[in-house]
Symmetry: C2
Subunit: 339 residues, 2 copies
């Protein structure tokens, strides 16, 4: 008695987007709520439930949801919990996400994972990684996230926290401070914020002219650097060369690890085109071991950004199992009555 839809939920720092998705990866309908409106997690779940229910009713889909998949920062696949969320307003350190959402929805199975893993699942199910059993997803946003797929399965590690490739050390000496408390992480250089930091460093250390000097140095964003580079500003182009080179060198190490068929880029910075991709590919080709040369493709995500987070989360919904046994009992009853 498989039901035709899953629900994908993407919990971001600002918005929580949810959508009804069919087996072919079509987003039937979607809506969102503000993530930070309630500091009490139960109130948030209640509002999420109400919003989803309205969407289901509008689309005559109340009884058609097979499972719910949720992508959220620091969400753990094994425990169903969010652990120490850096950008979420609820009291931690542990938020029982899957259990509470499953209960709110009368026991529908819920599976959760972090946002980058969700993106990898989405890409494997509906995007550029269809048919691939070994690939790595890299999300270039405010931070650098990653989802690693080996033998067709997401790599969760023994504790559910594997895949922190944004925190590979790329500068062992005098590296930049990173939000993780260490120094020299990939994320400190190759995220959107990393690009802005590079701009500030270049502006301070170099003396050549640049249109970036017209901006207030503390407010410079990666978007400013991109716009300046597109307009031909040499320093801005150099900033992308620097960023792409570090990424390409790090990708070579990733290939030595799991020898993926492709590394797939997603997120705002990934849309910088040749400005980023050319130096990245050049550094990668130069750095990768001979045995892997010419084998691993560097690709861009094929998912529409507006759909990607929901699609990725929804892919997890198909494999969600009912893991909260006290709930199972309730739900079996409810389901029997309904059907």
């Amino acid at each position: 008695m498989t039901k035709p839809y899953v629900l994908g939920i993407d919990i971001g720092g600002t918005n929580t987007v949810f959508g009804i998705v069919d087996a072919r990866g079509q987003v039937i309908a979607s809506d969102s709520i503000k993530t930070r409106k309630h500091s009490n997690f139960d109130d948030y779940v209640q509002e999420l439930h109400d919003g989803v229910l309205r969407l289901l009713e509008k689309n005559d889909a109340e009884d058609k949801i097979q499972g719910i998949g949720i992508g959220a920062p620091n969400a753990n696949y094994y425990t169903g919990e969010i652990i120490n969320p850096p950008n979420l307003p609820w009291e931690g350190p542990v938020i029982p996400l899957a259990e509470k959402v499953s209960k709110a929805f009368g026991g529908i199975p819920v599976a959760v994972t972090n946002d980058a893993n969700a993106a990898a699942l989405g890409e494997m199910t509906y995007g550029a990684a269809r048919g691939m059993k070994d690939f790595i997803m890299i999300t270039l946003g405010t931070g650098v996230g990653s989802g690693i797929v080996v033998n067709g399965q997401l790599v969760y590690g023994h504790d559910g926290f594997a895949g922190e490739l944004g925190h590979l050390i790329v500068k062992r000496n005098n590296g930049r401070m990173c939000g993780c408390g260490r120094t020299g992480c990939l994320e400190a250089y190759c995220s959107a914020t990393g690009v802005a930091r590079t701009a500030r460093e270049f502006l301070e250390v170099r003396t050549e002219p640049s249109t970036l000097r017209n901006l207030h140095i503390e407010d410079i964003t990666s978007k400013d650097v991109y716009d300046a580079a597109v307009a031909g500003d040499k320093m801005a182009v150099d900033i992308f060369n620097y960023t792409g080179t570090i990424l390409g060198e790090a990708f070579a190490d990733m290939v030595s690890f799991t020898s993926p068929q492709a590394i797939i880029l997603f997120g705002g910075l990934a849309k910088s085109g040749d400005l980023l991709m050319k130096p990245l590919q050049t550094a990668f080709d130069k750095s990768v071991m001979n045995v892997f040369k010419g084998k691993t493709k560097i690709l861009l995500s094929e998912l529409k950004e507006s759909d990607a987070a929901v699609l990725g989360a929804s892919a997890l919904g198909w494999e969600a199992r009912n893991r909260f046994e006290n709930v199972t009992t309730e739900v079996s009853g409810a389901e029997t009555e309904k059907s």
Copy 2:
């Protein structure tokens, strides 16, 4: 009709060791031949076959071999071939190892993998990684090899060559030349030869006295450094501190990748005791991300070195499938006649 034994074969640069292994990981009997005696691969396989047959006959095991597992440098699990072997005498670039050995033995299923992967399989089946689904095997020998296990499966990557952790870049600038043609690889620092190179560097650059100065600088081995360190030579101790620190920092990056339950060390250098393990553990604890702190154990192999290679290879024998169809036909006939 499962047969009670498998054959494990370890092809090393000097010796080829083979053993009859039972399901509990007991090496019933073993023997060896010289790997480099024949420059023609068919002649080598013939001698291997004859040697194995003698061993089987002596142990009344001719009809009791379920499968053959072979560990060899640069052996590819997917293709059954050795590709560009660096230390083997046969004409390449591609040696059809599994096919030729299977044919020589009348079609017994053969599976091959590289030596570090075989060590990981051995450790998972019979050693320190029993019961673990996520761990990394690091072999510290002439080079640094690795076998990565995720979700209970060896990571082969899309091409069968995954797990080159000896070639993670640990020095991005002014790194040592590595046999792989690049610079700054882990292997150039933390293998037995890497330790000897460090000794030569320290002796040239530093001015303090050391008993190592009594040796001919070009002939210094990691064993010399070990002996000097055990005898209290400060520079020799520093060489192990340097080596262990680089290893510990690299291990922290490995944990960010697959979050293993343990990293297991094998090989000559791994037997250096606290000289290596103390600085390694200190650097690891300092370098690993907070989310992983205190979770990943650094362990030593539990396999006897004399048995380990054969045991590791043999573990693969249980899962070997007959993949050479023209052979299958012949063998089915032969098997029917026998039974």
